[in-house]
């Protein structure tokens, strides 16, 4: 069912995409400028201050998102539409006696004088403009909010179905969601953390799993308000990995630290040799979590977009069937991959927590 849905979504996406990109590419050909696949993909992979929906006759239609800045004069907020789709630092927005420009999706204080745009560089091409603290509701944050709303709706509704059942048997929605919850409980929490302690970490593991998974899936749906590459963003994976790291470090018992700094049961020179390695391991574990999710999800987006871009690279509509076939094929694989990645992240988090609270018997 899920697969069929995603296929439908992709078909819809392709129509939208073609409709927009024909005009888009025609414009590009006129300029005798090649379609920059790299830029298009990177633009999609990265965050944005507006949610691009589609192009109509070369004009982008975007959903404006609020820009929230903590500046030298306090909090400033306005809609990103005030930049008028400009991303080159040419359009200035004035607020509280300060002026801002958007340059490559970064909000900068505008330079005093215009030199093509309001961005100034040093000799090596580095930007000299100062940056306010940018707490905007960007495309990814917006997408994250949607995922939160979906999760809350789905699981509060699931929780409600139990009050209707006589003996706590799953009814309605919980017939679908309960097996997933049981899976996290029986295949992740209990084996990794242990029968006695797992209950304490269940809410964290469940939230983690479903948060990652739903965002992965939403990233696969190729149109507004989905398609954001949230779980393929390093900041997102960084936060989740950091939370796992903090929990692991906080709950760790004496045995855990002993095994890191003074590994029992081996000669002293080996102990001295292992201590720095084990110590680094504390940080490498969450870093590997962070990079794995980031790289896998980003790679998935890049592959699908690259395959579609083949049409524009070869400038031939005849390549479309092959391109379509492969991107649908990869998308189907991605449906599997995103579930596996969410599972792996959750399982490894549980494993790290489990190893931190494990009671060793020597």
């Amino acid at each position: 069912m899920l697969l069929r849905f995603s296929t439908k979504f992709f078909l819809i996406f392709f129509f939208l995409f073609f409709g927009s990109s024909i005009a888009f590419s025609a414009e590009k050909f006129d300029d005798q400028k090649d379609f920059d696949v790299n830029e298009m993909i990177m633009h999609h992979i990265k965050d944005s201050h507006e949610f691009h929906i589609m192009d109509i006759n070369g004009h982008g239609v975007s959903f404006p998102l609020p820009v929230i800045l903590w500046t030298e004069n306090g909090l400033v907020s306005f809609l990103s539409s005030e930049f008028d789709h400009d991303d080159s630092g040419a359009v200035v927005v004035n607020r509280k006696g300060q002026s801002f420009v958007k340059y490559h999706e970064k909000i900068l204080y505008a330079s005093d004088e215009k030199n093509g745009n309001y961005v100034s560089y040093d000799e090596e091409g580095n930007i000299l403009n100062k940056k306010p603290l940018d707490l905007s509701i960007t495309k990814l944050v917006f997408s994250m909010f949607i995922s939160m709303i979906l999760l809350v709706i789905i699981f509060v509704a699931t929780a409600k179905t139990y009050s209707g059942s006589v003996k706590g048997e799953p009814t309605g929605l919980s017939k679908f969601t309960e097996p997933l919850i049981i899976f996290i409980k029986d295949e992740v929490a209990v084996p990794m953390i242990g029968e006695t302690n797992y209950n304490r970490y269940m809410p964290f593991l469940l939230t983690l799993f479903f948060f990652i998974w739903i965002n992965n899936l939403m990233g696969l749906i190729p149109f507004f308000p989905f398609s954001a590459n949230l779980s393929g963003n390093i900041a997102f994976t960084f936060v989740l990995a950091a939370i796992t790291f903090i929990i692991t470090t906080l709950v760790a018992n004496k045995d855990y630290w002993k095994h890191i700094f003074w590994m029992p049961g081996i000669p002293v020179p080996m102990k001295l040799f292992l201590a720095p390695i084990e110590f680094l391991g504390i940080f490498i574990k969450p870093i590997s979590l962070m990079i794995r999710l980031f790289a896998n999800i980003s790679a998935g987006h890049i592959i699908v977009l690259s395959l579609i871009s083949l049409i524009f690279i070869f400038k031939s509509i005849w390549l479309a069937p092959a391109s379509l076939f492969f991107s649908v094929f990869i998308s189907l694989i991605e449906v599997l991959v995103v579930a596996i990645q969410a599972y792996i992240f959750t399982m490894l988090s549980a494993l790290y927590i489990g190893s931190a609270i494990e009671e060793h018997e020597h």
Partner: protein, 164 residues
């Protein structure tokens, strides 16, 4: 490089979002769901162990019944044995008693007969003695009168005298 540089804004929002999501879901979703699931698992486990217990009890009851039955059988056999013993004893005793009684009767009868016999013999002896004496007396008195008459008398006496 831009791709792998975490953005402060997104870090902030992800932290806030995850925190809120965690607390909302923990309170309104995971707690009731896990509660229901655990309760159900517990009730299933309880039901299974109750069934197991009932089975054990049945087993016990069955073995108890068997034991009682066996005991009853043993008792019955014992009773029957005793009854048989009593019966044979009664018969044996009765036989003995009867024999004894009969013997006693025979004995007493024998004694009585013996006594009667002795008494009879004694009387007979006395009678014979009396008779002899009478005869002798008569003979002697007749002898003294006449011979014929004496003989006649003797004959007469003899005829009269019935020997018992």
């Amino acid at each position: 490089m831009d791709l792998v540089t975490p953005d402060i804004g997104l870090i902030f929002w992800t932290t806030v979002s995850f925190g809120i999501l965690y607390f909302v879901l923990a309170k309104f979703a995971w707690k009731p769901i896990l509660g229901a699931v655990n309760e159900r698992e517990k009730s299933i486990k309880d039901a299974l162990s109750a069934a197991e217990k009932a089975k054990d009890e049945m087993e016990n009851l069955k073995s108890d019944n068997e034991k009682i039955l066996n005991e009853a059988k043993l008792q019955r056999e014992l009773l029957l044995k005793e009854a048989r013993e009593i019966k044979s004893k009664i018969i044996f005793d009765a036989e003995n008693e009867a024999t004894e009684k009969a013997n006693k009767l025979i004995e007493s009868a024998k004694t009585a007969i013996e006594n009667e016999k002795t008494a009879a013999m004694k009387e007979l002896k006395n009678t014979v003695v009396d008779l002899s004496l009478n005869i002798a007396e008569k003979l002697l008195s007749k002898e003294l009168e006449n011979k014929d008459k004496q003989l006649e008398n003797i004959q007469e006496i003899l005829d009269k005298t019935k020997l018992n």
